[in-house]
Symmetry: C2
Subunit: 286 residues, 2 copies
């Protein structure tokens, strides 16, 4: 299989960097192909702006409509080379992994800026035809359909604080905009995330357990049951894209947008002594 | 009152820029003080990295622990001047407004990078003492306690798609990591957001209604009922920071972390013909 890591950590010797390096090594040793976009090492341009459209800049200074400029550059083949290059990596991959440390309940800015720029209009959105009850290709359809994606995230905080009643809110709530909004939107099949907790306290033994569990999950990425997000055009939503009232899986909030089951973190490792893979369940303290 | 806008849009003539300019003008005309950090105009450095610690760079190349370096620089007064300057603006303000267009279910990277860098260790986190059942100052306590903050967000999509059963997931779910994670965490009192939908279709009359509603909300920022997030150290969480089992407001997910009520968007304007302020309710199509 072809694995594409999009990796965002400023320090190569971090636990995040170590886990990725180990994963890459193991995947390659198992005969898989791997590409890594190390955003810090690439000095990735994080800010979406006028400079993303080299050809446009030679025009007179008309106001920038980023979405329109993105559509034009994508369709004409005049995108910034770094953006076009990342799109080709996505199209190459079978499995895409976002690996990053949680910073303020989300991704580091450099990774958010990867999506702001690489997810061009006509590539990741604005795809497919509207018509009748069909609303274009997104949420289950789109250019990434048939590829899988997962989040791999290192967390300084404790697992309990991200449990269903934990003070930070549930990890599923933190991940919702990423898993549904960034990954499911352009068509990825989203598989459960690998979450590594209390990474600052992990000793060598804990790190080894984390690495082995991570590698196992990556090797099984093509077999694991995906998060069952509902497809936009699969019949569950009405003609204004509102979930049909009769569809009720017993949940409130975003969990309604899954077909029955809840999210499961396939790795949820905590501090030493708390190594065994644990699953989040809606009513347990994970 | 003292208003501080943190504004992130690459195009000054955008609707986002227009709304902010009108708001600033009206607030000043009413005798209030206003500061704007226009992140694009400032060419704000979005990426948190080694260069944020000028003094550290003269040392030998030890691995970067960003949180530790941040704590040291903050406590020693050796932070990057742009970071220290933004912290001073936060400490000056009575009301902080994050104004931005929604990009991929979140903030533009340049704004996320503002938080990654300005929210220093010792300033926005790592504040207060742990001890017994008390876990330091966050979620209801912290340096920003007594100040108010709100999100003002322009959205291309339709209001119905962000309703309780809308295909994007509820707007409250999109805003959870921002309102609870970024604003409530360091102590802000979070007031309901101003959300402007279908901004690409708004005609002049619609824009005027949006501007007037926004100005009214800003003028009333000190009186409006805040989002009733639960305080970490207020007695609702147990000694491992898990919400006590007996506290049940009838909701699942992050709404559990409010004391009874649900989020209300105080502006939720849609396309022309759909101008009147609407409130999200848990079971209506807003």
């Amino acid at each position: 299989m072809k694995y594409f890591f999009i990796y965002a950590h400023p320090e190569p010797t971090s636990l995040s960097g170590f886990l990725m390096a180990r994963a890459v090594q193991s995947l390659q040793a198992s005969g898989h192909e791997v590409i890594v976009s190390d955003l810090y090492a690439m000095e990735w341009k994080a800010v979406a702006d006028e400079n993303d459209f080299p050809r446009r800049q030679t025009d007179t200074g008309s106001p920038l409509n980023y979405a329109a400029a993105s559509r034009k550059a994508f369709s004409e083949g005049t995108q910034s080379p770094d953006v076009a290059g990342e799109q080709q990596k996505l199209l190459w991959a079978d499995v895409v992994i976002l690996q990053f440390p949680i910073w303020w309940y989300g991704m580091p800015a450099i990774l958010k800026g990867w999506f702001d720029r690489v997810y061009a209009n006509g590539f990741a959105y604005g795809v497919g035809q509207h018509g009748g009850n069909k609303w274009g290709d997104r949420f289950g359809e789109g250019v990434m359909k048939g590829r899988r994606a997962m989040v791999a995230m290192t967390v300084g905080g404790r697992m309990a604080h991200y449990g269903p009643r934990g003070v930070n809110g549930a990890m599923d709530d933190v991940l919702w905009p990423i898993q549904h909004g960034l990954l499911f939107y352009p068509g990825f099949t989203v598989i459960p995330p690998a979450i590594f907790y209390e990474v600052g306290k992990a000793d060598d033994a804990a790190v080894e357990v984390m690495a082995q569990a991570y590698i196992k999950n990556l090797l099984e990425a093509n077999q694991v049951e995906p998060i069952p997000f509902r497809s936009q055009n699969g019949g569950d939503y009405d003609d204004v894209q509102v979930l049909k009232q009769e569809l009720d899986n017993g949940f409130q909030g975003h969990a309604l947008h899954q077909n029955g089951a809840v999210f499961i973190s396939n790795i949820a490792l905590g501090k030493p002594g708390d190594y065994s893979p644990q699953h989040f369940a809606p009513d347990s303290r994970s």
